[in-house]
């Protein structure tokens, strides 16, 4: 058993490494450098960075109270709520995307938002909406498990020492959950950088308008510009690598899935 399992592990390691290295080394360095200065790629990097950072911040802001409620309070319909809140986790992003498209495109709500100047469909705002929708369950799950693992008695003591409820949360529970929060933020951000299906559905794939890195990869592969596609892919691989290292560094105990 030992020999077989070690052999399989080794073979898998080589296959994965070889595949990814093959992609990174596909274009010679000068060509890669040239691709990176291409305005389309630069636009995609910038758009991806801006939308992913904003969507991560929104995810954190919403997930903190939600995860806290799920971890600490008992309320009617908690099981259903938990299920609904984490459903997008297992939902194919394309499905989430089409649901969003219908919601913002065909309902009175969506039209009202559009009239008010918050056009979501086929706009960069749509990218943020799609990323938040798809990624917030990860943030909620990670934070919920971080909050659950903190004994509520820390807060009780803080309250007897003079804290309000909010004060006890901000001064004790949140700092104690900081590793989970950081890991969750990094994971959410990296998933936002790589989000494709939902973004494609909601924001479309318009060159130099809603063109994030994955969309750039998709558009360039469709038009046969392999070098640009590889450049986008290389950046995405680097981001994944950074994420993995960061999560390992922040907390080995955080369960992503």
């Amino acid at each position: 058993m030992r020999k077989i399992s070690l052999a399989v592990t080794l073979i898998l390691f080589f296959i994965i490494s070889a595949t990814l290295l093959g992609l990174i080394l596909y274009s010679p360095l000068p060509v890669l450098g040239q691709s990176l200065t291409n305005p389309e790629i630069q636009f995609a990097i910038l758009l991806s960075l801006v939308t992913s950072v904003i969507s991560t911040i929104i995810c954190i802001a919403i997930a903190i109270p939600v995860a806290y409620a799920l971890a600490r309070y008992q309320f009617f319909g908690k099981r259903i709520a938990t299920l609904a809140l984490t459903l997008p986790l297992t939902l194919p992003p394309l499905v989430a995307g089409i649901a969003l498209l219908l919601f913002f495109g065909t309902t009175a709500w969506g039209r009202a938002l559009d009239q008010a100047g918050f056009a979501v469909i086929f706009t960069p705002l749509g990218i943020i909406v799609a990323e938040v929708f798809v990624n917030i369950p990860y943030m909620i799950r990670i934070l919920r498990s971080a909050f659950s693992s903190i004994n509520p008695r820390y807060e009780y003591v803080a309250k007897t020492l003079g804290c309000t409820d909010t004060g006890a949360f901000l001064q004790v529970t949140l700092p104690m959950a900081r590793h989970g929060l950081l890991a969750g933020a990094v994971i959410t951000w990296s998933k936002a950088m790589g989000e494709f299906g939902a973004v494609l559905m909601v924001a479309g794939a318009t060159t130099m308008r809603t063109e994030t890195l994955p969309i750039a990869l998709y558009l360039n592969i469709s038009t046969g510009d392999l070098n640009l596609a590889v450049a986008a892919a290389t950046i995405l691989i680097l981001i994944s690598l950074i994420t993995l290292c960061a999560v390992e560094y922040f907390d080995r105990g955080v369960h992503v899935f």
Binding site: R153, Y154, V157, K159, T160, L161, C163
Partner: protein, 354 residues
């Protein structure tokens, strides 16, 4: 004075039911009870963490039943100390002061004073994770005491400590109490804590306070069998009592009888401390009213003492030193006389529940 009136609260599987307690200023009050009796819930409700379903809590002349915990001025120390792991010892202790709007200089002086009182000044820059159990305990006490609480609540504060540290902590607690005059309410299941520290105790079972009183009073006169068994008195004998002059005679189910100094007539439970039973190979004349012949059924050594179980018609436990046991050649089957005073027997009337 802290007064708790008909307090009830249910929290998951724990409940507190119709509790009435009165704790005097400066008193060291201990609540004893088996696990799951609702002791922690009671303490947390006094601290204001949980809202009671009914009843009132009064501190002095003020009703504090629905006052926020932060405004009650009641400190709390848990079994696992709950030191904030992301703060240094110094910041942990200063935590309560920072919530109040004093000047930072004042903070530092108060924290230092408290640290030197508890002899933890050398730990101030360290994080709680690096401290021993006893050290964490001191930090937790300092953190609770630095805000000068009117009442300090201790939830099994020493159960995570080893024997010697416990003893030192007991001395420490009694010293702190003398120095600060703080009223202390402690939960424990260690009788040593009770004998060493408590002015008065309450016994709690299934959410109810079933007996309150001075420590020696409760141990000598438990009000029912549960308390007697829980306090580990040694002999709990059921029987029926009848008048026998100034005292009573208790007859067990199979007919054996003995005397007790009491006036309770009817179905009773008699308790007798194992150390009050004297064993001898021959009868001897003494002031003790009870002397019965029995057969040794078991000899159980425990530390420096030996528990000898006799069949005298009912089972009787006697506590002897190892020397006495050896000199009497006691082993299962030995015939010995058991002698005990009628006044050593404590009689509890059997209520309908039992």
């Amino acid at each position: 004075m802290l007064r708790i009136e008909s307090l009830s609260i249910t929290l998951g599987e724990f409940s507190v039911c119709n509790v009435l307690l009165e704790i005097q200023p400066g008193e060291y009050f201990i609540i004893l009870g088996p696990t799951g009796a609702g002791k922690t819930v009671l303490l947390e409700t006094i601290a204001g963490i949980h809202m009671p379903e009914s009843g009132r809590i009064l501190l002095g002349d003020n009703e504090i039943t629905s006052t926020e915990p932060r405004l009650r001025n009641i400190g709390m120390v848990y079994q696992d100390y709950m030191l904030f792991p992301h703060l240094t010892v110094e910041d942990n202790i200063a935590f309560g002061l920072r919530q109040r709007k004093n000047s930072p200089d004042n903070h530092y002086a108060l924290v230092e004073e408290m640290c030197s009182l508890l002899e933890i000044s050398h730990l101030m820059k360290r994080y709680p994770g690096t401290l021993s159990g006893g050290e964490q305990q001191r930090v937790a006490l300092a953190r609770a005491l630095v805000i000068k609480p009117e009442i300090l609540l201790l939830d099994e504060p020493m159960s995570a400590l080893d024997g010697r540290t416990r003893e030192r902590m007991r001395v420490e607690l009694s010293r702190i109490r003398k120095l600060t005059g703080t009223t202390i309410i402690q939960i424990t299941h260690h009788f040593d804590d009770v004998f060493a520290l408590a002015d008065r105790i309450a016994i709690m079972r299934e959410g109810r306070i079933i007996q309150t009183g001075e420590t020696s009073e409760v141990f000598l006169h438990p009000s029912d069998t549960f308390i007697a068994e829980f306090l580990g008195i040694g002999n709990i004998i059921r029987g029926t009592s009848s008048n026998a002059g100034n005292i009573i005679q208790i007859t067990t189910r199979n007919g054996t009888a003995f005397f007790a100094a009491s006036d309770v007539i009817g179905d009773v439970v008699a308790t007798l401390h194992a150390e009050d039973v004297i064993l001898s190979t021959a009868p001897f004349s003494s002031s003790a009213r009870n002397s019965v012949l029995g057969t040794v059924t078991e000899v159980i050594p425990s530390g420096s003492t030996v528990r000898v179980i006799l069949d005298v018609g009912f089972l009787l436990t006697a506590l002897l030193t190892r020397e006495s046991c050896r000199e009497l050649y006691l082993e299962p089957g030995s015939r010995v006389y058991a002698t005990f005073k009628a006044s050593a027997v404590h009689v509890i009337p059997v209520t309908s529940q039992q």
